[in-house]
Symmetry: C2
Amino acid sequence: MTETNNGEKILDKKITRRQMLKMTGAGAAGIAIGASGMGGILKAFGKDVFLDDDSSATNKVNFYGKHQSGIDTAVQTNIYFASLNVLVKSKAELQELFKMWTPLAVHMMNGETIGVEYKNGMLPPKDTGEAKGLDARNLSITFGVGPSLFEKKELGLSSLKPTELKDLPHFPKDQLEEVYTGGDICIQACADDPQVAFHAVRNLIRAASGKVSMKWSQAGFNSFPVENGKKQTPRNLFAFKDGTENPITSSEKDMNKVVWVQSGDSKPWMTGGSYLVVRRIQLHLETWDRTALKEQENTFGRHRDSGAPLGKKNESDAMEIERKDENGNYIVPENSHVFLAKQSKARIMRRSYSYSSGIVDSTGSYDAGLVFISFQKNPEQFTKIQNQLGRMDKLNEYITHRGSGVFACFPGIKKGSYIGEALFNTL
Amino acid sequence: MTETNNGEKILDKKITRRQMLKMTGAGAAGIAIGASGMGGILKAFGKDVFLDDDSSATNKVNFYGKHQSGIDTAVQTNIYFASLNVLVKSKAELQELFKMWTPLAVHMMNGETIGVEYKNGMLPPKDTGEAKGLDARNLSITFGVGPSLFEKKELGLSSLKPTELKDLPHFPKDQLEEVYTGGDICIQACADDPQVAFHAVRNLIRAASGKVSMKWSQAGFNSFPVENGKKQTPRNLFAFKDGTENPITSSEKDMNKVVWVQSGDSKPWMTGGSYLVVRRIQLHLETWDRTALKEQENTFGRHRDSGAPLGKKNESDAMEIERKDENGNYIVPENSHVFLAKQSKARIMRRSYSYSSGIVDSTGSYDAGLVFISFQKNPEQFTKIQNQLGRMDKLNEYITHRGSGVFACFPGIKKGSYIGEALFNTL
């Protein structure tokens, strides 16, 4: 253990949040031991650029890689999604913000605390601490930037705005609320624990105090049935399985086709990145619960219990919307959700969570539904599907889109680099 | 399998939500198999009074017993708390409501679906289905009645109102909002899964359509660190351990002293029951996060990382608030949360959860905090502590009570009986 001149005690190797609890005798108030000095971090990116993914960490998702985490990462049980507005007034400050966030994200994804407490406790803790004792819980953190960021003249980024990064068009039946819409930056924190996901966002925002403000946020969850030790597709609050027809994350070809921006597709800084679309969709549970099962299944185009395409047996059976019965009628109704989505020929990678946030005060209905999130190499893929759905989707009777956002998620980060470097280095 | 005259197929033995998924071929739309006929249930309490706790169910909490579940049950990871107003206009209808709910609660706590789907799918599903494939997940369901229920003249219950069942007094710094306060009936559903807890409340309310309306609801969570396979005390969003000084649930003596209403303590129908106090407490995370660690620890009277009383080493060490240092000053500050709570000499059983529900629109602050829940044989125990805290508790600077409720939770239910029978049989 070394003691620094500003009263910190630093242990030279990394200490996980779980190890730390075993080591700290709490009698001596404030001698908490973290992973590396916050002082160092705030002194803008000293030795922290050499931080490693901790391969020995339990339940660990890697921070570094060709792509950001939280996109092809196996979907976790919890999300805390935050949309921020920036308060910084120059590109340099914005760049510093992402530099400062980088080691914090590495630490938290390693399941480490983000700073060393001062030994006398006379300053605020560096880590807010509510994740202490928990491991990394497969935390992923995904950063993106919204169209409004590029419109802030003082940031000087307008020439770098990809043409496809723009607010989504108005879709039929949208009832977007400003309090759940837009934002300059998004942070998607997903983990197999609600407190770990929340802790990640809270600490990133706190470290950026005065530089960002929160515009909106939403927590969500997924409940995975387990069969023979294998996680099954979770059900949404309409009890249907969601995300069945996603691209295969293990197939580079499929992912390159649907999700990852390829060289020449967009602005160069987005190569290897992906576009995130988020929609806060209220599901009208009361109406749905009064609807016949057959009608529910015709609405989705799937069987509820198995998740199979209508008339088929297994969830994984091909959808084949062109199938007809003996009378020449489509088996999967032409106004069903999957029929229309399929017909658009567009593909996206859905990575959604359910939410239940009390009731809508004015009506007494559940404020519950879907934090719909999809990744695609171009937001147009989502728009195509949504336009197709918007016209006649039976599901529209049961849902209302209340919030919306589109964000350009940077490519992955190499060790020694920082989040968004591709964007800032382009200038 | 037997087929009934109204088109249902009933399997004569119980089918869990997990087994069901293995058994149902979904090709044949609508042939889902549940646990027992909803028809039967709605025909008011036929054979369903003979429903058993399923001792073979996985992760199962018992419904029947001397006391209701969810009070001395080990705290789960998730809660969905709902406060309802009743729309029924007579005691008989209210009694029918609780009778109807009884077998539904047994089924759900067994991890079973609550009804048999009609084979042709021409009616709404009997179970909303989002918990299908999940096991019981230690679901507990606790029912209580609020003071306002007894004030509804048409229900004729006024003579049965316990004198101690009344709205809590106004405490200093309360900023209660009507949208999170009061209610005629509460349902506390806790489970080791957010969707299972939500599903329980949703299905109970749905089955009571037209008989109750939701006044308010709140989801919450606990994240348990695990050490050597053993769950540790969870931390609240201020990173402090909560619930450390609870009565010992395995000690009948301790529980009788603090939690369970004894014969002669209250109205006879409450013997074996307990009073639930719920407070929706916003934690001002932004303010807290600017506070020195030492100040945070002096506010609670505990060390943050270990949870130990100030100046002590382990979470389980005795608090001993009278300890003084060499200068004669109290080691645990006199205005700390635990000092004041201890000084009141009152004891309660806390069973709280954290919540994070986006932001408070008007301020951009986190709408996050504590769904504080405590059980006690008399709400006065809570009031005594809260009065003691209210005057000078340092914690008051960092929190705001936004919601409140007090409910008389019935004693446990015997097989063949129903929720609240003691109340209705008293007349």
